[in-house]
């Protein structure tokens, strides 16, 4: 399975690994990882295209449009665990802190 594991991709995989069975929203992942939407969504798209993530529309309140959610497929979970075990995750905490700092600087 060919997927470029950039530090940002590793961050996202790590965010999903925290509670792999739970569905997650795009904005929540962005807040947890400190990644901007322009970085986050291309990675989510690639993960979904490779069937590592499954997506679902959450039915919202009546009159409101549904919300998109994401979680690992079994393949995705295996892939993320294998990469985490291989130690590609690196210093995730530092990367998150760096992303947040960049966010503060640019906002």
């Amino acid at each position: 399975m060919k997927l470029r594991l950039s530090p940002q991709t590793v961050l996202i995989l790590d965010a999903f690994l925290e509670q792999p069975a739970d569905w997650k929203y795009g904005y929540d992942i962005s807040r947890n990882t400190g990644l901007k939407s322009g970085t986050l969504y291309p990675i989510l798209m690639r993960l979904a295209e490779r069937s590592l993530l499954e997506t679902m529309w959450e039915p919202g309140e009546p009159g409101k449009p549904p919300r998109h959610m994401y979680r690992f497929t079994p393949d995705g979970l295996r892939f993320a665990r294998a990469n985490a075990a291989a130690g590609t995750a690196g210093s995730i905490g530092q990367q998150v802190a760096l992303n947040r700092m960049k966010g503060w600087l640019f906002y």
């Binding site: 929203y25 986050l40 969504y41 998109h68």
Partner: protein, 169 residues
């Protein structure tokens, strides 16, 4: 709803309307998330990032389509090189055209500027030639044919100037 958030909603709605079919779900997801973002400016930055993501995806799909289905995919090496040289020349000529247009516009704002020989040589010769040389050096390894096209145009422009100087001075 503040002005930045209104702009964010308009931007992502426009993206959703014009997004390719395979990106429409994603654009819709990005638009929906706006409702959960605190702060109008944060919403606007979210929308700008999301727009970039959709544009990049569309661009990569088009690039793939162009490579596989169109002439680039069917071209042999010579054809690809010729296309690169042509693109380089076209870009260089476009730059010279822009320089000339800028000089004309500057002449409207500051009358007489476009008739000044120094402004002319600077805008049409010195700056474009410097850009051509820099672009050739930067592109030589990765995009050789394009760099060759730019260099060829630079040489033609320089030759044109040399002939002009010989005949008129």
């Amino acid at each position: 709803m503040g002005a930045p958030r209104r702009l964010a909603v308009k931007l992502l709605s426009a993206v959703l309307r014009h997004a390719p079919d395979d990106s429409r779900d994603w654009a819709s997801a990005m638009l929906r998330e706006l409702d959960f973002i605190e702060g109008d400016w944060a919403a606007l930055f979210w929308a700008i990032g999301s727009t970039t993501a959709i544009l990049r995806r569309a661009a990569s799909v088009w690039r793939l389509w162009f490579k596989n289905k169109t002439m680039e995919g069917r071209m042999n090496n010579k054809g690809k090189k010729a296309l690169g040289v042509g693109l380089g020349m076209l870009s260089a000529l476009a730059l010279v055209g822009c320089a000339l247009a800028t000089l004309r516009i500057a002449g409207l704002v500051f009358p007489g500027l476009d008739h000044s020989p120094w402004a002319y040589w600077l805008a049409v010769m010195a700056i474009p030639e410097a850009i051509f040389v820099a672009a050739t050096v930067m592109l030589w390894r990765k995009k050789g044919p394009v760099a060759a096209g730019i260099l060829a145009t630079a040489l033609v422009v320089a030759l044109h100037v040399a002939v002009h100087l010989t005949l008129h001075w």
